[in-house]
């Protein structure tokens, strides 16, 4: 009797061990790091718009949440390691530590110079998801291996605006550029698009931030904007230091487009179509604010990883990268078209939204802008134009 009981006990124990092992061997763990650095609060035109400190992070968290909802059915568990380096901290050091821990999928929310440094340090070990830069050089002649870019480049944004301007026949542009390096890059992209779509830049002026007490927005803008006749004023002011002053104050009554007025963006709070309402609601419930571009980019980065892992069951950087750059990868991004990565520069193919502050005007590429393989490639540097491989 006792032996039978003992036997039963052993059998029970054995079955427990077996079933545990079964679960353990099936459950997959996917570690993703999110790396960013605290930022100095930049100067702003208005205190109405609060400075958001967690732009990007909340998007990554939502992406992780969605991945884990799926993961409960596929026995996959996603973990996000948040690395937020203080203002005076060492980003390179933090990155090295992430690599040391063996994490090979890293969402990077850092400016272009820092991304470049991390890329060198990375030496193709990890797959980096850039959710911050719009640098054309990274998509054109200074491509970074093992880096995928989630946000539209400046060239993509400028092309989106130019397509719409062409449709409206607003062909004569007056370009106003701020004095930061980023503004110059934006203006460069605008000029490229103008040439590409046959627009004419009739005048170009630089906005100088002088601190002359006699200069006010009301008196200065009308004088500043007296040039030959034009259809639209294109403003290049990425930080938003003066661009908002131009609308309603210019000498001629003309619309403003560019970094203010009608803007080209990856995401906008007025976007509702193609199921966008659902993600806007989910995001607001999580973060208590509207989703910003960097959040959208980080969300897509996490979701892209999720798609690759779900479909291939592989979690290493090489396999994930191979899947993401293959024809099989099609990501739902709430913009009506499947998103994918351009194999030549790692740029995420995506529609670009053209939005006014409280209304979505249109999504580019516009109807009628054709392309032999994918209409999304009418935006930004196409394969034949790029020097990247």
């Amino acid at each position: 009797m006792l032996t039978v009981r003992l036997l039963l006990f052993y059998l029970l124990l054995l079955s427990l061990v077996c079933s545990n092992r079964l679960i353990a061997s099936e459950q997959q763990e996917i570690k993703i790091a999110y790396l960013t650095q605290e930022q100095q609060v930049p100067s702003a035109l208005s205190n109405l718009e609060p400075f958001i400190t967690d732009k990007g992070l909340q998007g990554a968290l939502l992406g992780l949440k969605d991945n884990n909802t799926t993961g409960q059915f596929t026995a996959q568990n996603y973990l996000l390691e948040q690395v937020i380096v203080p203002i005076d901290g060492d980003v390179k050091q933090a990155f090295a530590e992430i690599l040391e821990q063996g994490v090979r999928l890293i969402i990077v929310n850092l400016p272009a110079e820092q991304l470049l440094q991390l890329h060198q340090l990375n030496n193709n070990q990890a797959l980096l998801f850039d959710v911050a830069t719009r640098t054309d050089a990274f998509r054109h002649n200074q491509c970074l291996s093992n880096v995928l870019h989630l946000l539209p480049s400046r060239a993509m944004r400028a092309d989106a605006l130019a397509q719409y301007m062409l449709k409206k026949r607003w062909n004569r542009w007056f370009l106003v550029t701020g004095n930061t390096a980023e503004d110059a890059l934006y203006a460069q992209a605008i000029k490229r698009s103008a040439k590409r779509f046959g627009m004419k830049i009739i005048a170009e002026k630089k906005w100088l931030h002088t601190y002359d007490a006699r200069r006010t927005a009301q008196s200065d803008i009308p004088v500043f904007t007296q040039v030959d006749d034009y259809d639209v004023l294109v403003v290049a002011d990425e930080q938003g230091l003066f661009g908002e002053y131009i609308s309603y104050r210019s000498w001629l009554p003309r619309p403003v487009i560019g970094t203010q007025g009608l803007v080209a963006t990856a995401w906008h709070r007025t976007h509702e179509q193609w199921g966008a309402v659902q993600i806007q609601n989910r995001f607001k419930a999580l973060a208590n604010r509207y989703m910003q571009e960097q959040d959208y980019a980080a969300y897509l980065a996490a979701r892209a990883i999720g798609e690759a892992v779900t479909r291939t069951r592989a979690v290493d950087a090489v396999s994930v990268k191979a899947y993401l750059l293959s024809d099989r990868f099609k990501l739902q991004g709430y913009k009506g078209k499947p998103l994918s990565f351009r194999s030549w520069n790692g740029q995420l193919r995506q529609p670009v939204l053209l939005a006014a502050p409280t209304s979505l005007v249109i999504a580019a590429p516009l109807e009628g802008f054709l392309h032999p393989t994918n209409e999304l490639d009418t935006l930004g540097y196409d394969q034949p134009e790029t020097h990247c491989q």
Partner: protein, 320 residues
């Protein structure tokens, strides 16, 4: 004299036939349903119903019309003859689509924002269960034998197989991105599923729960990204299937035996959902952006008529 009688008798007969079938269309932006006489080709009336009506379906006995009014967070139970609201069912938040079992006793509702399916007992009008599913559940269907509830999650990209007795998920089928609509064949052997983002139609074998066929669409002169399949229906004999291709503005006619796409029928803009006439002689389509419905004659696969109904027609139900 005799001819007059004959003519009037004929007219009488015609009017009886024409009033025999009514199409109800949910109008997402008008907060109303349109009541259409499809034989006469006329919009009879528009009835205000509630905020953002989307999913719409008749009870098996065709006496009750159920309408999901998404922004009111309820599914309305409406008398199909008088259109009087009888009750508001506890559907959970943001109900979009739902399915009803063949006995008409249970309703299964997709709650898109909450990642769950709510089960409603239609006799007691109580929510009796919620089932956690993937992100953004949308398409939902019950197998003809009432054994399975299938739910498609748009962002998780999965079809969940829910046991209709225990409400446990027994299997998951990974499908192409952004699955939208699901439709069982009448014999219960196949489940047809559309993928909006990949532009594909998948046929899942119910026994193995694996994809057995994948159908691609190509409309000459139309970009691939315009093809975004949404609604799908298969006829009772499993001879033909019809797929609404969204912004391609066409309904694809698929041979359900050979899986060949035989025809593309031009309908209205952004064709969304589909419904058969009671004898499966006609197919009705909602065209979201052109604000009308199209009528397709199924004997010769021709679009015979389109009827303007109101803003953003979403779904339709056909009362014999």
């Amino acid at each position: 004299m005799h001819t007059k009688v004959l003519i009037s008798a004929g007219l009488l007969l015609f009017s009886i036939v024409s009033s025999a079938e009514t199409v109800f269309v949910s109008l997402e932006k008008d907060n109303a349903i349109a009541v259409v006489d499809p034989i006469a080709g006329k919009l009879i009336k528009t009835v205000n119903i509630g905020q953002r009506p989307r999913g719409i379906q008749l009870s098996p006995d065709a006496q009750t019309l159920y309408i999901a009014t998404s922004d009111d967070d309820t599914v309305l139970e409406v008398d199909a003859n008088t259109l009087a609201v009888k009750s508001k069912l506890p559907s959970g938040e943001d109900p979009e689509t739902f399915a009803i079992n063949s006995a008409g006793t249970h309703m299964y509702v997709s709650n898109e924002d909450d990642n769950q399916v709510t089960v409603i007992d239609l006799l007691t009008r109580q929510a009796i269960h919620t089932i956690s599913v993937g992100v953004e559940p949308e398409g939902i269907a019950v197998s003809p034998d009432n054994l399975w509830i299938v739910s498609a999650s748009e962002t998780t990209n999965m079809v969940h197989w829910i046991d209709a007795k225990t409400y446990e998920i027994k299997a998951n089928t990974l499908v192409d991105p952004r699955p939208r609509a699901l439709s069982f064949t009448a014999d219960g052997q196949q489940l047809w599923v559309t993928s909006e983002i990949d532009g594909t139609l998948m046929i899942i074998d119910v026994a193995t729960k694996e994809i057995s066929q994948r159908i691609h669409f190509a409309v000459p002169g139309l970009g691939k990204e315009k093809i975004q399949p949404v609604g799908v229906v298969v006829d009772k004999k499993r001879q033909w299937a019809y797929v609404a291709l969204g912004p391609a503005n066409r309904v694809a006619v698929v041979n359900a035996q050979t899986y060949e796409v035989e025809k593309y029928l031009l309908v209205g803009a952004r064709v969304w959902n589909l419904a058969f006439s009671p004898e499966q002689k006609r197919l009705y389509t909602t065209n979201g952006v052109s604000h009308d419905i199209s009528i397709i004659d199924l004997d010769d696969h021709k679009v015979t008529k389109s009827i303007a109904v109101g803003r953003y027609p979403w779904g339709l139900a056909v009362k014999p």
